[in-house]
């Protein structure tokens, strides 16, 4: 029962950690119907800064890392992205009141990654002085893209079958291109390229890095406000979405923890890396996932997938997921 005790004590501390505190603060503001508004331009800029910070540091690090070292984790990350979508496709989709396309889109969103959840975990690991390979956050697209692509492909297969038409099938390469063009992945990859190919150390240390925590706190506030405001969208769809949105982040995170543990044993993947991998898996996309799905699976109801992810998925991934993986790591490593 050490795990439970440790997890609970972490949970309590976690509620005082800035990331979670701002998230809850945002929820409280929305619940109280505060008129506080963080301008859209600031939100977009904060997201850009976060992803550039993650990307540049990843790029700088990859320069020194051996690609061999990253290969296996990257493959595991891809597998996790696909696994999460398949899991949703074969559980959520069969629950009463749940439409197949809606289920697939939701699973796609939970397979994809949230930059802010990832950033929150990075800050907490740094606060606790837990080492991780700096390229781990850069695994982001290796989970994000396969999950979205697979979800879109599955949804289209389903619709084609339903229509009886053979269809010409979704164009996988064009979905990948659209993903990469989205603002989140564009910023991350730009950062990676800059870190890998140029010398951005000074601007990184003087600008992108020091503003990271502060802008994250503002993003958390916005996520909290959104989470509360979108709760009533969730009320419009089947209750099973709420159940899925609660259970999925933790399930996905624990599966990833297991696979990460295997990586640790076989390749020496760091405990901090295992935690971040779990966070990647447990998080659900909030920035570029929704519009990608909206455009590619138009028949899916956005209230179902955005409601699930934003209102329940993300808060659970941050507030319960992160301390849980940390407690687990403490125990097993």
């Amino acid at each position: 029962m050490d795990l439970v005790a440790d997890f609970l004590s972490r949970l309590v501390t976690q509620f005082q950690s800035p990331a979670l505190a701002f998230l809850i603060g945002g929820m409280a503001l929305a619940a109280f119907r505060s008129q506080l508004e963080i301008p859209d331009a600031i939100y977009k800029f904060a997201v850009f800064m976060l992803l550039m910070r993650i990307g540049i540091e990843g790029g700088l690090e990859i320069r020194d890392a051996s690609f061999a070292e990253m290969l296996l984790p990257a493959l595991v990350t891809i597998a996790l992205g696909c696994l999460i979508v398949l899991l949703g496709r074969f559980t959520l989709a069969y629950l009463p009141g749940v439409k197949m396309e809606d289920a697939i889109a939701t699973a796609g969103l939970f397979g994809a990654v949230s930059a802010s959840t990832l950033a929150a975990a990075m800050v907490i690991l740094e606060e606790e002085d837990i080492f991780y390979e700096a390229w781990v956050p850069a695994l982001y697209p290796f989970m994000d893209i396969p999950a979205l692509v697979l979800a879109i492909v599955l949804a289209n297969l389903h619709l084609a079958k339903q229509d009886g038409a053979s269809g010409n099938g979704p164009k996988i390469w064009s979905i990948i291109k659209d993903s990469l063009r989205g603002s989140a992945l564009s910023a991350l990859i730009l950062g990676l390229a800059l870190g890998l190919l140029t010398r951005p150390e000074q601007v990184f240390e003087g600008f992108y890095d020091p503003l990271f925590r502060g802008l994250l706190s503002i993003l958390m506030l916005i996520m909290g406000m959104e989470a509360y405001q979108r709760l009533n969208e969730l009320r419009k769809v089947a209750h099973w979405y709420a159940v899925y949105a609660f259970a999925a982040p933790l399930t996905h995170g624990l599966i990833a923890f297991g696979l990460g543990y295997l990586l640790h044993v076989t390749t020496g993947f760091s405990p901090g890396g295992v935690v971040l991998l779990s966070v990647l898996a447990g998080s659900s996309s909030d920035i570029s996932g929704p519009p990608t799905l909206r455009a590619a699976i138009p028949t899916a109801n956005p209230s179902s997938y955005i409601g699930s992810s934003t209102s329940i998925g993300t808060p659970v991934a941050i507030a319960i997921g992160i301390p849980l993986y940390l407690a687990l790591a403490q125990m097993v490593f």
Binding site: D40, I42, Y43, D286
Partner: protein, 106 residues
């Protein structure tokens, strides 16, 4: 001296803007004007301000002036048919008086 023309107005989700612009071009529209909008309809409220995580779901209002009513109806119908089953949106026509008719022909 003014000439009768028709304005097609399309209010819909920002995410399908490119598709709407394509339809306008295909049907022969010579141009369009677009403004950012919020609104409420049968599918819930869409705010026009503040940070929203899903900005792409906000509305746009597109206006196209065409010199022939038939083309106006074709544009409105095409947009409604291609999109309004899955995306929220409305479309309507208005009669307008233009001063320089050549601007709205090809």
């Amino acid at each position: 001296m003014t000439y009768k023309a028709t304005k097609v107005v399309i209010i819909t989700e920002k995410v399908i803007f490119d598709g709407v612009a394509d339809i306008i071009e295909e049907m022969g529209g010579t141009g369009y004007t677009v403004v950012a909008a919020g609104g409420r309809g049968s599918r819930g409220v869409r705010s026009a301000s503040g940070a929203s995580i899903v900005d792409a779901f906000r509305n746009i209002k597109v206006e196209v002036i065409v010199s022939e009513l038939a083309m106006a109806e074709k544009i409105a119908d095409a947009v409604a048919e291609r999109y309004f089953q899955n995306y929220s949106g409305i479309t309507y026509l208005e009669e307008v008086d233009i001063l320089r008719p050549h601007k709205f022909h090809h």
